[in-house]
Every structure is written in structure tokens, then in C-alpha cells.
Amino acid sequence: MSDLHKLGLKEVLDGVKNKTFSCEELVRETLSVCEEKSELNSFIVLDKEGALNKAKELDRKIAQEEAVGALAGALVGVKDIICVKGLKNTCASKMLENFVPPYNATVVSRLLSEDAIVIGKTNTDEFACGGSTETSFFGVTKNPYDLERVAGGSSGGSAVAVSADLCTFALGTDTGGSIRQPASFCNVYGLKPSYGLVSRSGVVSMASSWDTIGHFAKSVEDLATVLNIIAGKDRKDSTSVEKTSDDYREFLGRGVSGVKIGVPEEYFAEGVEAETSEIVKGRILELEKQGAEIVPISLSMTKYALSVYYISMPAELSANLERFDGVRYGHKPKEYSDIVDYYFKARGEGFGAEIKRRIITGTYVLSAGYYDAYYKKAQKVRGLIIEDFKKAFEKCDVLIAPVSPFPAFKIGEKADNPLGMYMADILTIPVSAGGFPSLACPAGFSKDGLPIGLQIIGPYLGEGKCIRVADAISI
């Protein structure tokens, strides 16, 4: 077997354009690698037939010198909460086990219109709720660096698909860390864009004021190339915004001379493993040697972010998941006494434990008597967290911090301890509170050989700055 499946986006696009290999060869080889590595459980659905048909169509166009799109030949894995017309969108839940969406999410339409080939739908925590894919109805995704460990989550399937060369790039979603954390656990690049930069239309909502759509790739340049295509305002998502750059690749190769890099002390404090801190600090020192200015920063509201998130997110989630009642689509109970009982059974049987736990939490914080004490309080503190970041960005261009306090943990290690699992997102959630962009970038390996990632956090719509600094690290 050749190594076509290992190619990054740039190499795939060049190879297809120069006819070094055909799209069909790439698809056939990648599909056979997917079979070989099925133990990883990266995909919920593989669209073998669709991918091959699209590849053949592109090969015919290229042979006849017809115009093809900017992503012709690239194989994309799509997180299974993002709708692809005609393919199941299960949300890794029994509730939507057989649901086939009749339309494409905007982000998928944009990729398809540039001739990307969807290879399949990737595993996730149920409705993107979790940090390890252990809550998936279809079983856990395994970490390619150690099969006894989690891939991270919730976009774990997408991270593994890129890490194990099962696709060229992949789409994910990040509400509290769900792109960055699995990217760091699996040694790939992941971008959580600013809130609103990539349309949420056609993506099953978790917490609407926090949800962002982003992607995983094998290089910083590949992240920028994909961002060029998926970013920008969409009339189907009224919270979407115009992109700030026509070509995010312009930020590559600029170096970091004179760039002010903030280092938030709270992100290297107690609770963050020493090895993780040291590796990330080592990378920061390298940037200083390249001419960056290091600025110590304090983000004093950091310790409140987790509490704010676990009030605000379940509140929004419990409202968003009200629509799943099993009437028009979704899980249908077999036996019930009346319509109210039908709802109870459809939802009781269709949702897994973590979803139920979060719906109960959300219902509690929104109920009369607790609304002010929890929900309102959290929304106010959220404002203080955002102010904290805004003040920091008056002193620096970007912030650099670890993504996760520790590398990938063992499967089952935190499954019975929800609070312990929630703590895994302690360094990614504060960024999400303000809708800031953050790029996860491989930083090194632990002594046990597990990947460790850092995140480059930019001001709102400052993706270009994140890409510039990440590019300097990857050289």
C-alpha cells in the first residue's frame, strides 16, 4: 500500500491537480485503512459508495479538464451532529439512531460546493455532551497513541480520523473544549473559531450561545485553507458574522517578531500536571527566542468559569433538546398509556445517562426559585470572565496555555465521576464563555508517549493572529 492516505490537505490538492494520483485511488486506499483501523471506532457511518462515486465523478471532470472546486479530492470526516443530506445523523444517541436529514448543514454545503468528498460521520459523545466519547451510544473512540485511553471529546471521532489518517481533515464542534481537547489528546491541529464565524445552521444545537463549528487538520496551513471556505455570514444563522480575512493563509510564514504573547498564570497553576506545564512553557520560550515578547497575565476569573458553564450550558441544552419527543422523528416507544406517557418513555428510553443528567440540571437552574440564584448569577459572572479576557488583550496579541490539565486519561477512569470529567475542560471553557477563537496545536509528548497540546487564544475574530503564532510553533 502507498501512503496516499497519510497526505495532508495541501499535498492531496496538489497531487489531484497534477494528476499524480486519482481521487478514486485516494478514496479506495483510505477506505481500506478505515477497515484496518476499525478498532479505533472513529466513524459511526462510513459512506463508501457515496465517496467512491464522488471520486469517480471528480476524476472524470479532471480528465476532461473541467473546472473543479478548491477542495477537489480532499476527504472530510463530519462529526455526527452535523447534517449531511442522505447520511444518518445519529448524534451518537439512541434517540436519533435512524434519523436521516433531508438537507445539508451550511458548513457541509460550503465544503461540497468546493468538491470535498465526505467519507463518513464521526463518533462523538451523545449530542456532543462529554469529554471522552464514552457517552456515545455506539461505544467509545480509542486513542491511536494508546488504545486503552480515550481520544478526548466530544469530537473524538473527528480527531482520531485525522490523527490515524482516515481522512484529510474533519469537522467538529466546540462548546466548552470539544475540538481543542481531542486535538491535543490525539496530536493534531484543531481550530475553535470565534462564535458566529462559522454558521451553526444544520448542526444539532447543544448550548446555542456557546456552540461553535470548527475543524481538525494535519497542519496549520490546512486549518487556514479550510477556514477560508467555511467562515462567513450565513442568512440561515442570524448569529453568524462576516469573516475578517479573505485568505487566512496570509498569516502564515510571518514569524512572531514583536508579537506579544500573554501567559496566563492561572493556566499553569495547581491542578495542571507539571509535565504539561513544562512542555507548553518550553514552546513559549522558543517563541521568545524567535522575537516574541512574553507578557505575564492574570485571568483572575478563571476559577469561576467551570461553574458558569455547568449552569448556562445545561440550561440552554435542556431547552434545545425539548424538541426530541419521538413524535415526528426519533425514538418511538412501543408501549405507552397516553401522549404524556409517550413523551416520558420516548425521552426516558431515547436519551443516555449524561443527557438526562444535563437536562435535569438545566431544568433545575431554570425553575422558579432557582433561576436567580443559579442562572442569572452565572450569566452575570460570564460577563466578568469576558471582561477579564478583553483586558488581557489590551496587553497582548494572543494568550498561550495548555489545552488540558493532563494528557489522555484511561477509558473508564472518569466515567463514574461526572464532576471529575467536567474538570477536564477547566482550561478550555473560559475561552468559550467569551466566544474567543482558540487554536489547539501539538506541543510535545509526555514521558509515557502521550501527546500534549497547547492552545493559542486570540481576541474575538482574531483567528489570523492564532494562525500566525501556530505557524511559528510548527516550524
Binding site: 433531508p102 438526562k356 443528567r357 440540571t361 431544568t363 425553575s367 450569566q379 459572572v381 460570564r382
Partner: protein, 95 residues
């Protein structure tokens, strides 16, 4: 402290059937989570605004134009999990 009665009541409000094990487990789990959240009481939030969105957009309007959809009614009907009659999706009796 979220006791089992609270969990059952929330389950009723959210229309979710919970097993006895789930009620016991969620009561324990959520008590720990809410105890952790007590940390928010350290922060004085008097007179602060509530933040419900982050990018400052308000009153977003769109031109009222017809845009072609990639979802045709016939396709929608053909993919329905429910029976289709007279070009309508048939659902369980709800009233």
C-alpha cells in the same frame, strides 16, 4: 443538596422517565456539582448585566427573498420514518 424528590420533580417537568437507579445516582452527582458551584457566591454581582450572547449582534434582519432549498418536499417525504399519506407525514395521535 439535590435530593431524590428534586430529581424526580425535574424529570416530570422535563418529561423524562427516570429509573430508580438514575434518580439515586443523579441526586448524588448533582449534589456534588452544585456544591462545587457554591464558589460563585464569592463574586459580588450586584448591578452587573446578564450576558446572554457574546458577539453584540442585535435585531438581525434579512431581505425577504425566496431562496432555493436543497430539500425538496418529495425527498423529505421519502426519507420520513413515519408513514406517509396524501403527501403528509402521519404521526402518533397527540390530542
Amino acid at each position: 443538596m439535590i435530593d431524590e424528590k428534586d430529581v424526580l420533580h425535574m424529570g416530570k417537568l422535563a418529561r423524562i422517565e427516570l429509573t430508580g437507579d438514575e434518580v439515586r445516582k443523579f441526586s448524588k452527582d448533582l449534589s456534588a456539582v452544585f456544591e462545587y458551584m457554591e464558589v460563585l457566591n464569592e463574586v459580588n454581582t450586584d448591578d452587573l448585566p446578564e450576558i446572554s450572547q457574546v458577539n453584540g449582534l442585535s435585531s438581525v434582519f434579512e431581505e425577504d427573498v425566496v431562496v432555493a432549498s436543497d430539500c425538496l418536499p418529495a425527498e423529505l417525504l421519502s426519507q420520513s420514518q413515519n408513514p406517509v399519506e396524501l403527501n403528509q407525514i402521519k404521526v402518533s395521535k397527540v390530542v
